[in-house]
Amino acid sequence: MTRTDPLDVPRPHAQLHFGVFFQGVNHWTIWSAPDSGSQIDPASFRKVAQTAERGLFDAFFLGEGLRLREVDGRIHDLDVAGRPDAITQLAALAAVTRRIGLVSTSNSTFNEPADLARRLSGLDLLSEGRAGWNVVTTDNAWTGANFRRGGYLDHADRYRRAEEFLTVARALWDGWDDKAVATSVAAPAWSVPGAVRQVRHRGPQFDVDLAPTLPRSAQGHPVIFQAGDSGEGRDFAARNADVIFSAHGNDFDDALAFAEDIRRRLRAVGRPDDDLRILPGTEIIIGATEEEAQEKKRWIRLQQVTPATALGIAGLLWGIDLSGRDADGPLPAEDPVVAENDGSFRARRIADPRAVVAEWRAKAEAHGWSLRETVIALGPQRGHVGSPSGLADKFARFVRHGAVDGFNVTPYLIPDGLDDIVDLLVPELQERGVYRTEYTGGTLREHLGLRAPLTHRSAPGRQEAG
């Protein structure tokens, strides 16, 4: 085992933080293996959360869907789908876990602050200070078709609404003074007179007059997560978030560049540049040796990228319905369709389909790859593959150089996909001194080593939302 001197790095004492993201959509979750479990049975959620807690993870994380995915106007049927409401599921997990944080992805467009802030407060109290909120935005009328208000929001306003939403939510969370509730049945009233304040807010997005319904939890506010990657999204995170769930965790240089960009943005808004944790989403594939890990990866990719999924991914690139073609044959002979930037999923994800297809053709020809092999090799990539000691060295380097603060791990198998990480990787990390050997705090905020909520600080360093 090769090791650098741990003191010869920018952050010799940095600690790696792990979250686990129980995914509810997309092809990364293998549903066809003999040990693929249910995506909705509460036992699956309990198993993953309790395994993560055994591995001393900071957080258990759930995504959110507000409409079933569709391709060409038909429900997408190739990937896992069907999942619980996040906060409801997490409230149940609060009863069967003791220390791990519970993070809900909840939309700021199709919720209202009073309702969502209260639900998050409830989760925070039921878990005794372990709640987190991953703030996401949507603007499309397609999602809005499931809601009373419909698709009412302009694209440009989605972050404005999210920011104003957070301002109202924070005011609600601060609506009760600490020790606002009486400590004796002989007290003059249930709440201390004057300790609960009405929240009135009139802004472009919200005009509300609210009685906050709950006191603060042990961690003050739920921890705020954010995942936006555009410049606007990064600025939003710098102003508002405690944790960034980024997409920059595969390549060291890319991760470091992202982290340095975020630190610059933090300083620009007057926050300390260590005020926020960066946890890229990642898959981790572990084998006893590097070769074994690579072999396992090949098997996993074949399960994830089924023939139909390969045709679906290639179809998106080509802009052609390829279903019914032979995924194990050559690449489609046609040129890709180049459409106007119509705001569609395809247009947003693939800037220049012709250039990508040309690259795919060249490499497929050079290697003799089928379409499916090409999609596996060149399609969406993610994750880290290796032996426990190799991965531990790599992650220690990432965290000690400030490229990440940890990872939000997406298991490829539910519910057993974390077992290897907890049983094999965590001990290697502990041996290197980059991972906790026990929980030292009780709240999610404490696990992450975060300061008090942004509205609870005295200047300097204080930055009000909005």
Binding site: S36, G82, A91, G122, T183, S191, L214
Partner: protein, 366 residues
């Protein structure tokens, strides 16, 4: 003569049915919101043999300003309780006067999955105009305006619960398909003020449809599994039950029982020093456990179940648990739920067919 065995429900919100119940609680006010509180009450009710707990709620805090009382959302409490119990039914109160029916449907379906089919839903209204300000919406002024909101909200939630057929997840390796999209359905609901497309994001609940409870004067009887009826005396309860038109009828009964320390009437008088016991025109029993057993015996001829509203949970639940339910049990007057059964089965209700299910038998593609 006694009627068939009763299904017993108990409302466990806050410290009890009386607005000043916290004055006689066995814990300090700042412990009300501790997670163990709700789970502890649920465990007592489950062990006592209740079929169902309900959890009152609303978007406004209980207790009028300037003395608000903290209350965690009923769905969150219900989910927490569901994970720490195994047999008892759990029904949060969720008004849909202003809430998003899509979210409400998802939350309740999730609760049914979490509880393995023990979930119910008590549909109520947000009556106070301030609730509209909380949602940032124009107030729905009167009863005539609120009724359609409840009706449409329940209709959307129920349609979404059916939008996945039971066997929509096929995991067909041969065809690479996880879902059979023919067993997923757009609900295409269009009401007076809004439309909802569907399908749900949550697979069909284990019970197919959750048990929906509500007042038949507020929610159309056809949408209810259980009518919650009120009346000051058994005769008016019997009359309301006879006209309910729902598969099951539960009577609302408020109770202040004699405890080893104080008579029920003394406890009511004690709390009257702080606030009156809100009159909801419900049957009220103040007195002995035996008296309550006799009253329930009489009601068993007219209703399928009773929802009890204890004056002070920490006092009355103990008497219910030690005296009332054992006495009812001895006289075969209480239907105790069995472990492993759904709430629907416990109440003797069929698992409903799916409104969207395709008539033709589909070929198994697994």
């Amino acid at each position: 003569m006694s009627g068939p065995a009763l299904h017993l429900a108990v409302e466990i919100d806050g410290d009890g049915a009386h607005p000043a119940a916290w004055r006689r609680a066995a814990h300090a006010p700042d412990r009300l919101l501790a997670p163990r509180r709700a789970a502890g009450l649920a465990a007592v009710a489950e062990n006592a043999g209740f079929a169902l707990i309900t959890l009152d709620d609303g978007v406004l805090p209980p207790g009028a300003a300037p003395d608000p009382v903290g209350r965690i959302g009923a769905v969150e409490r219900a989910a927490f309780v569901a994970a720490s119990t195994s047999t008892i039914g759990i029904a949060p109160v969720v008004p849909v006067t202003y809430a998003e029916p899509f979210h409400v449907s998802s939350q309740l379906a999730s609760l049914d999955h979490i509880s393995a089919g023990r979930a119910g839903w008590v549909v109520t209204e947000e009556e106070r105009p301030e609730a509209a300000r909380v949602w940032g919406r124009p107030p729905v002024a009167d009863a005539a305006g609120r009724a359609p909101e409840s009706r449409d909200g329940v209709e959307v939630a129920r349609a979404l619960w059916d939008s996945w057929e039971d066997d929509a997840v096929i995991r067909s390796v041969a065809t690479s398909r996880y879902l059979d999209r023919d067993r997923l359905h757009y609900i295409d609901f269009t009401g007076e003020t809004y439309a909802v497309k569907g399908p749900a994001i949550v697979p069909r609940p284990p019970q197919g449809q959750l048990v929906v409870l509500g007042r038949p004067d507020l929610v159309p009887a056809a949408q209810l599994d259980v009518a919650l009826v009120e009346g000051r005396d058994p005769a008016s309860v019997a009359a309301a039950a006879a006209g309910a038109g729902t598969p099951r009828v539960f009577a609302e009964v408020e109770v202040a029982l004699d405890t080893p320390d104080a008579a029920g009437a003394e406890r009511v008088a004690d709390l009257a020093r702080y606030a009156p016991w809100t009159d909801r025109r419900r049957l009220r029993h103040v007195g002995s456990a035996d008296g309550l057993v006799a009253l329930l015996d009489e009601l068993s001829r007219h209703v399928h179940g009773v929802r009890l509203h204890p004056l002070v949970l920490d006092e009355d639940l103990a008497v219910l648990s030690r005296l009332v339910l054992p006495a009812l049990s001895e006289r075969r007057l209480v239907a105790r739920p069995l472990p492993g059964t759904s709430l629907r089965s416990a109440l003797g209700l069929e698992r409903p067919a799916n409104r969207f299910a395709t008539a033709a038998v589909q070929e198994e593609t697994r």
